[in-house]
Symmetry: C2
Subunit: 118 residues, 2 copies
């Protein structure tokens, strides 16, 4: 993942961390509790395993998530949010509520347009 070599503003750092297409969803899922790779894959519709693993590794590098591995059989791994990750989830959570508001507004606009009122 390409990060800026230097930051003009702290804001850019947070933005770089969550800018991947699937990162907010991964963080969202992990906020519900630790999860295995396969469980995450099932819960995030449309993500390929490669992209999931790649984004997980990037989040690991940034200290947003942590990982526990059981080397024996059955193979088992668990990803979870770190404290930093939980703080970032605060921002993600707000993005979620803004998204909900926007969808409601857009639906309302569509409804009015349908009725020829807009």
């Amino acid at each position: 993942m390409k990060m800026r070599s230097q930051y003009t503003c702290p804001l850019e750092m947070t933005h770089d961390i969550i800018k991947g297409k699937w990162k907010p969803l991964i963080i969202w899922q992990l906020s519900k509790g630790g999860s295995s790779l396969s469980a995450l894959k099932k819960s995030i519709r449309g993500i390929s395993q490669k992209m999931l693993v790649q984004h997980l590794n990037e989040l690991l590098e940034c200290g947003v998530i942590g990982k526990l591995t059981n080397d024996g059989y059955p193979l088992k791994s668990e990803y979870f949010l770190t404290e930093r990750g939980k703080r970032i989830f605060g921002a993600i959570s707000i993005m979620q509520s803004i998204g909900i508001e926007m969808m409601l507004e857009d639906d309302r606009e569509d409804f009015l347009k349908e009725k020829g009122l807009l």
Copy 2:
């Protein structure tokens, strides 16, 4: 700008809107008050005029910012945050504070490493 054709989660909508490299910074600047193109260009270090105009247009399309134009001379335009934009600024603002915390933590780590304590 490439948006998802459909959203599994409202979160993705907000994420798509602010995912551009310069969008958080533009919103950050506009939160201080309406601004002209050239003023924005000056206040955002490293942005090219093309990228600035492009991102502004995308934000206009999403209803995050608005624009006032004066066609006469001297040429003058003013961009500003809409209500939706102000709500999104709420999320941006949190990203900023998280960024500050992360930079402080990282600096602290670097400091400890320098001293051979980590």
